[in-house]
Symmetry: C2
Subunit: 250 residues, 2 copies
C-alpha cells in the first residue's frame, strides 16, 4: 500500500503566508480534500482532483480522504491556518482510531501553518506575548458551560485569550455572552482585538476595550484576542496602535 | 525617515518551514538582528550586515534594532518560531513604548511563523486539537508562584498545555516541579509529549504519560505538550502513535 495522507495548513490565506513544505505537499498530491472555500485557494495542477465539502462534515471528510489514501492515492487534506488548531488534524486522527485497521498503516503527515491567532497578533504587535490560551467558542462539540468555565479559569489566571469561532449564523449569541463572563473577571479597560481576515486584502483589525467590546464586530472570519490585565496599548502618531502583553509579570 | 523594522518568524528551523513573506522580509533587510543561533540560520546576501546577540539581552537588542531603523536602515529582527510567542515582538513593542518618541513613527511589521508547539503537534498528530494554553516555564520574568497557579488553573479547566522554555542550565528544576503540580490535578495516564527540535534533522519526539514523565528528557530545544483527560493515543503497527485531543468534549 503506497497511499498517503498529508494534512496541510494553508496559513491565513495569501500565497505569501504558505510555507515551502506546505506548497510542496500540495503539489505532490493526486487528490485534495477540504472545506470548499479553503480548497478554492489552491491552484490545481494538471491531473489533480479536488474534493470540496461542507464545513460541518469533518469526520466524513476525513474518512473519505483516508479511504482514498488507502486505495493508493496521494491525498492532501487542506485546512486554513494550522491543521492542528481547531481544524482537520484531530478529525483525521479520530477517523483513524475509529476506522478500519488498514488506516493505521497509512503514512500520515501533518504540515503545520500559521494559525489565525498568530496572524492577528502579528498585525497589531504582540498581544499574545506572554502566557495565553486558545479557546473555541463553538458549542457544537462541547457544552457551553465548559466554554464559560474555561473562559473564567483562563482569564482569572492571567492568560491572554485567543477566541476562535466567535460567531456564525448558527451561533449568534456566544461571543456576547463570553464578553459578559469575562467582564465578571477582568477590568473594563482590558484590551480586546477583533482580527478579521488578518493578512488578507479584506483585513480589518479593531482595537477596543472589554467594557465597550461589541460582539457584533465579529463574524466567521474573525479571531478575537483578549488581553490580560497586563496587556498594553502604545499609541503611535499616524499609525495604528501597538498592542502587546509584556513578557514580565508580577 | 524611511527606516523600518520587520520582526520575522523563522519557524521551526528548516528552510522549508519558512513562509514566502518571511523570506521576502529577510531579503529586503539591510541589517539583521537576533539571537546568534537563530541568525546563523539565515544566509546573508551581498551587503547584508548581521548583528548577533546573546539570548538574555532582548530589550537591549530591540533598542539597538529600533535605533538603527530610526537612522534610515531597513532592519530585520529574527526570532525562531513565531515572533509573537515568547519571542522578540513583545520586546520590540516594549522598547517602542519606553524609548524615544521618534520610534513611535517607525514602520514596524511583524511577520508570523510556525511556532514550536505547532511543529511538535504536527509531528505527533493533533495533541492541541481542542482548547489549549501556551505557558512559559521560565521564571526569569515572572514569579514561579504565577507559573504554578497558571498550570493548576489551565489543567483543572481541561485545557491541553504547551510548555515553552521547560529547562535550561540556569533553570534545572522547573519542569520537574511543573510535573509535580500537574500530577495533583491530572490523572497519571495523562499524555505527555516531549518534542525536541521538531522538523529539524535532530528531531526527537517522545510520547509518555504524566505518571512517568521524566523532566530530564527536556532541554532548551524542547517544547513539552501535556494533554487533557480527553487526549488519546492511537497505536499504529510499525509507525509512531498518533496523539490527539478530540474536538468534542463532555
Amino acid at each position: 500500500m503506497s497511499g498517503r495522507l498529508a494534512v496541510i495548513g494553508l496559513g491565513p490565506g495569501p500565497e505569501a503566508q504558505l510555507t515551502g513544505a506546505a506548497r510542496a505537499a500540495l503539489e505532490a498530491a493526486s487528490d485534495l480534500f477540504g472545506y470548499g472555500p479553503y480548497l478554492a485557494r489552491v491552484v490545481l495542477g494538471p491531473g489533480q482532483v479536488a474534493h470540496p465539502s461542507d464545513n460541518r462534515e469533518e469526520i466524513g471528510r476525513a474518512g473519505a480522504a483516508l479511504a482514498l489514501a488507502a486505495s493508493g492515492r496521494r491525498v492532501a487534506m487542506v485546512s486554513g491556518g494550522d491543521p492542528g488548531v481547531f481544524a482537520m488534524a484531530a478529525a483525521v486522527c479520530e477517523a483513524v482510531e475509529t476506522g478500519p485497521e488498514a488506516w493505521r498503516r497509512l503514512e500520515i503527515e501533518v504540515v503545520p501553518g500559521v494559525t489565525a491567532m498568530l496572524a492577528v497578533a502579528a498585525r497589531c504587535g504582540a498581544p499574545l506575548g506572554h502566557d495565553f490560551c486558545a479557546l473555541s467558542l463553538s458549542d457544537n462539540l462541547k457544552p457551553w458551560a465548559t466554554v464559560e468555565a474555561r473562559l473564567r479559569a483562563a482569564a482569572a489566571a492571567g492568560f491572554a485569550l485567543a477566541l476562535y469561532n466567535p460567531a456564525s449564523r448558527a451561533r449568534p449569541w456566544q461571543l456576547a455572552r463570553a464578553f459578559d463572563v469575562l467582564r465578571e473577571v477582568l477590568p473594563p479597560e482590558t484590551v480586546v482585538v477583533f482580527g478579521r481576515a488578518a493578512l488578507r486584502p479584506d483585513e480589518r483589525i479593531a482595537v477596543t476595550r472589554l467594557g465597550r467590546a461589541d460582539a457584533g464586530m465579529a463574524d466567521m472570519a474573525t479571531c478575537v484576542l483578549v488581553g490580560s490585565a497586563e496587556t498594553r496599548v502604545v499609541a503611535r502618531p499616524g499609525l495604528p496602535p501597538l498592542v502587546y502583553s509584556p513578557r514580565s509579570a508580577t
